[in-house]
């Protein structure tokens, strides 16, 4: 590693200042579970200094419930997310996804912010965050901006300015109605394995009809995406009118549209359809019983 300097910052403003001075030469680190392997593989050969955000846990490492919004600081670890009582009760698919990240050792250090920023194609927490209409707050010297997760992802390479911005908050609206969700993941072994495929389905039912639906696929396209067609298909329908296989088919169609046919799709397309079918069946089944 070419890292020459290690710096701990006392405040967010300090962090932004240092970042703006050192730009591409600076590397932010929190839990290190993505950054350290990347450094080892030579990915950050041009970085000369590391800025440690962990001292900012007081400001950036909280889970705060304000009115109808849950605020999760980027430094919150996966372990805390999976154990937090508010998240478990109101945003269970996020707790489920965090519980599937890596191993206990990884979860004890890895942060939700890191998962979002690194954005591996299989980033597990991004899938439910997308379904939960999360908004990301970025701070820069002189201001903040708020961007919905979907827009953030679709920006592609220009998502955020790593030399001038730091993720400071993840805002998730809390549900106030009958909402059920499911997060499913396929991997090559039972634990500590990256997702080969993941899906999240979230539906809100009122008067036996679906009033809101979110359908998200992960590890299939370069980043997790909502399947708009599937959501539109489900909206307004009674539970019994939804064909779970159709939802799966729409998810598959989107993948093929976005990336074209890939070799792995021979496996992934039938499996995403099946996984989606199961997620939808289970979610609607639960709500059917309610």
């Amino acid at each position: 590693m070419a890292i020459q300097r290690f710096m701990q910052v006392g405040s967010l403003d300090d962090a932004l200042q240092e970042l703006s001075v050192h730009k591409e030469q600076a590397l932010l680190i929190a839990g290190g579970t993505d950054v350290m392997p990347a450094l080892r593989s030579g990915l950050y050969a041009q970085k000369q200094m590391v800025i440690d955000l962990s001292p900012l846990a007081g400001k950036l490492g909280n889970i705060r419930h304000e009115e109808d919004m849950l605020h999760i600081g980027p430094l919150v670890t996966h372990s805390r997310i999976m154990e937090d009582p508010v998240i478990r009760e109101f945003l269970p698919i996020l707790a489920q996804a965090s519980a599937h990240v890596g191993s206990p050792q990884i979860r004890n250090r890895g942060t939700i912010g890191g998962n979002i920023i690194t954005l591996a194609a299989c980033a597990d927490t991004v899938v439910p965050l997308l379904a939960l209409d999360a908004q990301l707050v970025f701070a820069r010297v002189g201001g903040v901006r708020c961007v919905p997760m979907a827009s953030y992802l679709d920006e592609g390479e220009t998502r955020f300015d790593a030399s001038n911005e730091i993720l400071t908050d993840i805002m998730i609206p809390l549900p106030n109605s009958n909402r059920q969700g499911m997060f499913l993941k396929i991997a090559r072994r039972q634990a500590a394995a990256k997702s080969r495929m993941s899906v999240a389905v979230l539906t809100t039912i009122a008067g036996h009809r679906i009033t809101d639906a979110r359908v998200v696929v992960g590890a299939l396209m370069p980043w997790p995406r909502r399947v708009g067609e599937a959501e539109r298909y489900m909206m307004g329908k009674a539970i019994g009118e939804v064909d779970p296989m159709k939802v799966g088919a729409l998810a598959a169609e989107l993948a093929i549209t976005v990336t074209g046919q890939r070799r792995s799709f021979a496996y992934k397309i039938p499996v995403v359809q099946e996984l989606m079918r199961r997620a939808v069946t289970r979610v609607l089944g639960t709500q059917g019983e309610a």
């Binding site: 450094l39 890596g102 191993s103 050792q105 250090r109 634990a191």
Partner: protein
């Protein structure tokens, strides 16, 4: 270079560490605590596990400088000063949970952390606690039995 202060196995240390120095290197090379191992360097095998403020972490993924102000427990800190083994350590021996011994420090620390939270772990909780630490020799069965045995003995002792 960075000056840091941290508590390791109950003793406060003032150290000067490199910017890119990893916690696993600091423990092994600076402090001679070679019980913490390196198996892969990317946090996948768990052999480098230490307890950071009581929770298991992969020390190959922590920068030494990040340990400033924190409390670390390595395998060397578990037995009593007079050499009496911790019940978890004794249980590993008695249950045949050790073969080559390379994953043993990490397994013992994960078990210790689990049993610090609960003395009645379910089998699933035990498996989860060691799910981030690879063992190629034992096939895990006797390790799980050792942790159950340790829990049982510690429950009896606490009565």
């Amino acid at each position: 270079m960075m000056d840091i202060r941290c508590e390791i196995n109950g003793r406060v240390h003032d150290l000067t560490v490199g910017a890119s120095e990893r916690l696993v290197d600091m423990l092994r090379d600076r402090l001679g605590l070679a019980g913490t191992k390196e198996g892969c360097g990317i946090g996948e095998c768990g052999a480098c596990t230490v307890l950071l403020d009581g929770t298991p972490v992969a020390s190959c993924l922590v920068l030494a400088a990040q340990a400033d102000g924190h409390r670390i427990l390595t395998i060397e800190g578990l037995a009593a000063p007079d050499g009496t083994l911790h019940p978890v350590q004794q249980a590993f021996i008695d249950a045949g949970a050790i073969q080559c011994g390379f994953c043993t420090p990490a397994m013992v620390l994960c078990a210790y952390a689990l049993l610090s939270n609960t003395l009645e772990p379910s089998e699933r909780e035990i498996r989860t606690a060691i799910s981030g630490t690879l063992c190629r020799c034992t096939g895990y069965v006797q390790i799980i039995e050792a942790i159950e045995l340790a829990a049982q003995r510690m429950r009896q002792y606490s009565q």
